[in-house]
C-alpha cells in the first residue's frame, strides 16, 4: 500500500480487478469466460468516444440529466451550520441514481449481442431501472428479488411487471438482496450464452465494480462542475449512503484526487450496532469473499454470512463494494452509521423542510447531515447525494405511523 503514490492510490482497480487486497474475481469456472469477455468488450468500448456519446445522449434525453444541485436553504437554516446542497438524483427517470448504470450496461448488452437481461434487486429501484431499459431495447428481462423485499416493495414489483419483466421471488436464505444475487448468479451460469447480467451496484466480480463506478461517476462529475459554477469552489464534504455503494462511489470518485474534500459514507445502523441488527460491514465487519469479490463482510466466526437488518431494503446487504473497502483502509473516505430511527426522522425532516420526499436509503445521508451540520461553520459546503425519491417507501413509513396508505 505504502509503495503507491497518491495518484496511484486512486487508479484502481489493477488489471485483475484488485483494489489493494479487495475486489478480484471469485466465481465458479462456468462464469469466468463470460467475465473475461465482458472485460474485453468494456475495455475496448471505454476507448470509443461514440460509446460515451451514446451514453451521455441517453442520459440527457431519456434520464433527464444533468440532475440539479440544489441549495437546500430551508434545511440549512433549520440546522444552523453548514450550507447543505443536494444532488438531485431523485429527479432522474425511474426515481433514483440506479438508471445511470442500467443505461450504460444496456449498451454493453447490446454491443455483446445478448437477447436476455437479468438483474438482482433489493428495494426494487435497480429492478425497475433494469426493466425500463429492457423494455426500451425490447430485451427479455428477469429480475430476482427476495420474498422479504417483494413484500415491502410491492409497488416496485408491480412497476417491473408493467414494464414487461418477470419478477422471480427468491425464497432461499434470508430472502433478501444477497439471496437474490445468489439466484441471479445461478441463472447466469445456466443461461450464460444468451444472457447479460446487469449488476446493480459496485460489487460483484471484476469488471463490475469498475464499470458500474464508471457509469455512476457522472453524478460526481456533474456535482463537481455545478459546485464550481454555483459556489465558485469545491464542496468541503460529500455525504452519501452506502449499501453496495454505487451512489456513493459515483459521487466520490471524481473528487478522490481533491484531497481537501472530505468524504463520508453512511451505512445502515439498523436498530443499533450493539444489537447486531444492522447492515454496516465497513463499520463492524472484516475482509472476506462473497458474490465474486473480496471486501468487508458481516459474517460469523465460521465465515457464514450474517442476516442483516435495515429499514431500507436497498441498504440491507452484508457486503459492500471493494473500492469502498479500499478507500476505508487508506483512510481517503470515512464510513459511519445512522439508525433506522434517525433515518426515519430525516425522511420526515426533509419532506417538511424542503418539500422533497427522500428514499429511505438517501434518508441515511440526510440523517448524518442533521447530526453533523450544526457543528460546522456556515461557510462549510456539504454536498449530499439525494440518491432516490421516497415514493416507493410511503407504505413502509405509513405502516410505522399506523396508517393504511
Amino acid at each position: 500500500m505504502s509503495e503507491l503514490s497518491g495518484e496511484q492510490l486512486y487508479d484502481g482497480p489493477d488489471e485483475h480487478g484488485h483494489f489493494g487486497i479487495y475486489g478480484g474475481i471469485f466465481v465458479g469456472e462456468t462464469l469466468m469466460p463470460a467475465l473475461e469477455e465482458l472485460n474485453r468488450v468494456y475495455t475496448k468500448l471505454k476507448q470509443d468516444p461514440m460509446f460515451w456519446k451514446e451514453f451521455h445522449n441517453d442520459l440527457a434525453h431519456y434520464v433527464g440529466r444533468p440532475s440539479p444541485l440544489y441549495h437546500a436553504k430551508g434545511m440549512t437554516k433549520a440546522l444552523g451550520g453548514a450550507q447543505i446542497y443536494l444532488k438531485r438524483e431523485d429527479l432522474n427517470h425511474t426515481g433514483a441514481h440506479k438508471v445511470n448504470n442500467t443505461i450504460g450496461q444496456a449498451l454493453l448488452a447490446k454491443a455483446m449481442g445478448k437477447s436476455r437481461i437479468i438483474a438482482e434487486t433489493g428495494a426494487g429501484q435497480h429492478g425497475v431501472a433494469t426493466a425500463t431499459v429492457a423494455a426500451r431495447l425490447g430485451l427479455e428481462c428477469h429480475v430476482f428479488m427476495g420474498s422479504e423485499d417483494t413484500k415491502r416493495q410491492a409497488a416496485n414489483v408491480y412497476r417491473m411487471k408493467l414494464l414487461g419483466a418477470t419478477v422471480v421471488e427468491v425464497n432461499s436464505g434470508s430472502k433478501t438482496l444477497k439471496d437474490a444475487m445468489n439466484e441471479a448468479l445461478r441463472d447466469w451460469a445456466t443461461n450464460v450464452d444468451t444472457t447479460y447480467y446487469i449488476i446493480g451496484t459496485v460489487a460483484g466480480p471484476h469488471p463490475y465494480p469498475m464499470l458500474v463506478r464508471d457509469f455512476q461517476c457522472v453524478i460526481g462529475q456533474e456535482a463537481r462542475q455545478q459546485s464550481l459554477e454555483q459556489c465558485g469552489r469545491l464542496p468541503d464534504s460529500l455525504v452519501a449512503c452506502v449499501g453496495g455503494g454505487s451512489n456513493a462511489i459515483g459521487l466520490f470518485y471524481p473528487f478522490l484526487k481533491d484531497e481537501a474534500v472530505r468524504m463520508i459514507g453512511v451505512e445502515a445502523g439498523g436498530l443499533g450496532l450493539n444489537t447486531g441488527k444492522h447492515a454496516a460491514p465497513l463499520n463492524t465487519g472484516a475482509p472476506g469473499v462473497l458474490h465474486g469479490n473480496r471486501t468487508y463482510l458481516m459474517n460469523d466466526e465460521d465465515g457464514q454470512i450474517l442476516e442483516t437488518h435495515s429499514i431500507s431494503a436497498g441498504l440491507d446487504y452484508p457486503g459492500v463494494g471493494p473500492e469502498h473497502a479500499w478507500l476505508k483502509d487508506i483512510k481517503r473516505a470515512e464510513y459511519t452509521t445512522v439508525t433506522d430511527e434517525e433515518a426515519l426522522s430525516a425522511f420526515r425532516f426533509l419532506t417538511r423542510q424542503e418539500g422533497i420526499i427522500p428514499a429511505l436509503e438517501s434518508s441515511h445521508a440526510i440523517a448524518y447531515a442533521i447530526k453533523a451540520a450544526p457543528d460546522l461553520p456556515e461557510d462549510h459546503l456539504m454536498l449530499i447525494n439525494l440518491s432516490g425519491r421516497g415514493d416507493k417507501d410511503i407504505h413502509t413509513v405509513a405502516q410505522i405511523d399506523g396508517i393504511d396508505a
Partner: protein
C-alpha cells in the same frame, strides 16, 4: 504419492473407473454423515467429496442449497467438518477425502491454519468452487507445502488456453463440469461432454472426473466411458434429504437407503 494419486493408479491397473459421491457434511447431522461416509465406501465409493457448508452457495442448485441450510441449522462449521474427517479416519485410512465448498469459511479460518488442520485431520484434497486459478495464488502456495491436492473445475465454457492453465495448477484430478448451470441441473448433453472431455484429455495429464447432472446408473455408465471418474452429488443428497434428523440410522439401514449408489457403482464397472 498422495492418496488420491494412489487411488487412481490402482484403479487404472484394475481397468476401473473411480466412483466419487458428494455429500454435505452435517446434513441431517454429523453422526449420520459419518455413517453415510462408511456406507458410501461399502457401496463402492473410491473417493468421497465432503461438502462443508456456506450460507451463500451461489453455484449450487436447490437440492444442495437445502442440504446446506439443514447443515447450517445444526451449526456445522468448517472446524466441525474437519473433526468429522478425523473420526472417519479412525476407521478408514484408505479412502481419499476431498473437501468441497466456498472460499469464505477458509478465509475466515486462515489459509495456513486450514491447510495444517485439514492435513492433520486426514483430508486429501480441496476444491474451492468460487476460487478460480486467478485468485488461487496465496492458498496454492500454502497447499503446495502440504500433502494436500488442489482440484480445480473446467467448465463447458472454458476455452483451451484457460483449461491448459487449470490442468497445470491442479493436482489429484480435474473436475469437468458437464453442463452450463448449477449442481443438480437436468439438461446434460452427453455428446457435447464427449467432445469437450476428449479435447481435455489430449493435453491434461491428470485423471478427469465428470460431475453435475448425473442422476441414474445409465448416465453414470455412459459418462464413465468418457473419463476416469464420475461424481454424483444431488442424486445422493436428494436421498439424504429423506432421512430424519432425530433418528439414529445403522450403516445397513443407510446402505439400503442409498442403494442407488451401489447401482451406479455396478453400472460404472460394466461400462
Amino acid at each position: 504419492m498422495s492418496r488420491i494419486e494412489k487411488c487412481f493408479k490402482q484403479l487404472k491397473r484394475q481397468n476401473k473407473k473411480a466412483f466419487i459421491p458428494y455429500l454435505t457434511a452435517g446434513d441431517p447431522n454429523i453422526e449420520t454423515s459419518l455413517n453415510l461416509m462408511h456406507a458410501l465406501v461399502q457401496a463402492g465409493a473410491d473417493i468421497i467429496e465432503l461438502g462443508y457448508p456456506f450460507s451463500d452457495p451461489s453455484s449450487d442448485g436447490p437440492v444442495i442449497q437445502r442440504a446446506v441450510e439443514r447443515s447450517l441449522a445444526k451449526h456445522t462449521s468448517l472446524k466441525g467438518v474437519l473433526a468429522l474427517v478425523k473420526r472417519f479416519r479412525e476407521e478408514n485410512q484408505d479412502t481419499p477425502l476431498v473437501l468441497m465448498g466456498y472460499l469464505n469459511p477458509i478465509e475466515c479460518m486462515g489459509y495456513q491454519k486450514f491447510a495444517e488442520d485439514a492435513e492433520a485431520a486426514g483430508v486429501d484434497g480441496v476444491l474451492v468452487v468460487d476460487m478460480p486459478p486467478e485468485e488461487a495464488h496465496d492458498l496454492l502456495q500454502i497447499i503446495h507445502r502440504s500433502e494436500l491436492d488442489c482440484i480445480f473445475l473446467v467448465a463447458p465454457t472454458t476455452h483451451e488456453a484457460r483449461a491448459r492453465k487449470i490442468c497445470e495448477l491442479s493436482s489429484g484430478y480435474v473436475y469437468y463440469v458437464s453442463l452450463k448451470g448449477v449442481t443438480g441441473a437436468s439438461h446434460l448433453d452427453i455428446d457435447s461432454v464427449r467432445t469437450n472431455v476428449n479435447q481435455l484429455k489430449s493435453y491434461c495429464e491428470l485423471p478427469i472426473a465428470i460431475g453435475f447432472g448425473i442422476k441414474d446408473a445409465e448416465t453414470a455408465a455412459k459418462l464413465g466411458e468418457l473419463a476416469d471418474a464420475i461424481i454424483v452429488g444431488s442424486a445422493l443428497v436428494s436421498l439424504i434429504a429423506e432421512l430424519k434428523d432425530g433418528h439414529e440410522y445403522s450403516r445397513d439401514e443407510l446402505s439400503k437407503h442409498i442403494a442407488l449408489m451401489a447401482g451406479m457403482r455396478a453400472a460404472l464397472d460394466r461400462s
